[in-house]
Symmetry: C2
Subunit: 232 residues, 2 copies
Amino acid sequence: MVRTQRASQDIPDIVVSRLPLYLQALTSLQEQGMAVIKSHELAAVVQATPAQIRKDFSYFGKFGKQGMGYSVERLLSEIRLILGLDRTWNLAIVGLGRVGRALVSYRGFLHQGFHIVAAFDQSPKVIGKKVGRLVVQDMAYLQEALKTQGVDIGVVAVPVAEAQKVVNQLVQCGIKGILNYAPTTPQVPPGVQLRTVDPVPSLQSMTFYLKEASTAKVRAKRRSRPKGRAFP
Amino acid sequence: MVRTQRASQDIPDIVVSRLPLYLQALTSLQEQGMAVIKSHELAAVVQATPAQIRKDFSYFGKFGKQGMGYSVERLLSEIRLILGLDRTWNLAIVGLGRVGRALVSYRGFLHQGFHIVAAFDQSPKVIGKKVGRLVVQDMAYLQEALKTQGVDIGVVAVPVAEAQKVVNQLVQCGIKGILNYAPTTPQVPPGVQLRTVDPVPSLQSMTFYLKEASTAKVRAKRRSRPKGRAFP
DNA sequence: GCTTGTGAAGACCTTCACAGCA
DNA sequence: TGCTGTGAAGGTCTTCACAAGC
């Protein structure tokens, strides 16, 4: 087997986590009509350094031309391919309380190729009801339905107290990717990808700095900002 | 002035970003009746190493007892103090589309001391209407209302195309903390804290690994998991 | 000229390993 | 004995700086 790309084991997780941000910025730049971009330009938009941009891309190949920069279209298609976004991914939502229902109607998923194809809850009050285009199914049919519908990723939108149980059930069903909206850190076995989405920790780390700024004189933070960034 | 704590400049951002997770875990453990905890126990819950837990705490003081561990209550109150959570913080939401309305009714904020006290939109269709307990105000009154209501943090829930403009307006009004729900990376001047909440980049970095797992044999990832973690 | 791609250097963070103390 | 707190070591990521090439 010919290996044209570096093995994923050699690529730092942090590099992978930046690729979606490049994708986001490049998509927007392409819509604005930009066809070619230089590392320092992309760096300004995503608030990184030109060296970091070039180094990150270099893990996957040589996408640029010396003296010229990168083709935006080429970069977009390379990054999509690297991330596995050259296909759609099917999601199932577990838990249709406030958060779950909001997620079903959230358009951000669909536009990026993430299709919500199933919804589950344990409450008889919700089972059988429609939420958006979906009929809420009983958790008892989880395994069967996940297989039938070809679900790749489970979205956990249940209360904290039930999050671990639901995560275990999804793992049991063979799900390898979980997006968790419960404000907790569930345990998952090796090989299962878990991402927790919770605005509260973000706010709580923010207040650390806001507090400092209001009690002490605001001083330049160490490494507070990459060089060369521009704020209009 | 006596300085009992290390200057915030000397504390790595990454350490600050972990404190909310410790808080989350400790709160849950306290509810379960745990009064004392050892670094390796907390490490198991948050999926870190005992050394990291101890090192992180050591930036702020000596909270433990040799041979004993840490008092959960003491830790909770120290971390809350460090993060500035010994008070409530006032939020204002800008943009009352689907996301904004979902956020107004989200209870996770209130329970953690983040009070949504104002809501703004630019659309005449929404201005004056009630969303939850709040009457949606015109963006024209932004500066005045933010001052009057003592708003600390702005929550941006507008479409991508307007996000930078709204961020600029908030910054102009003297807001130092912004929680951004638009799928973009707005520019902010130094001294303004920005956190972007977007599930899509999380999903997109997840698919990188899911793709690998399905196309290649799943191999143990380098540094995939801290030592000593336990999965039940 | 200008910009990429990349080894090497440097900065930063994590982990080790043990002194110190309950 | 057991566990914390912490310098020191080790490892990873970022940045530098320049050769290569358009």
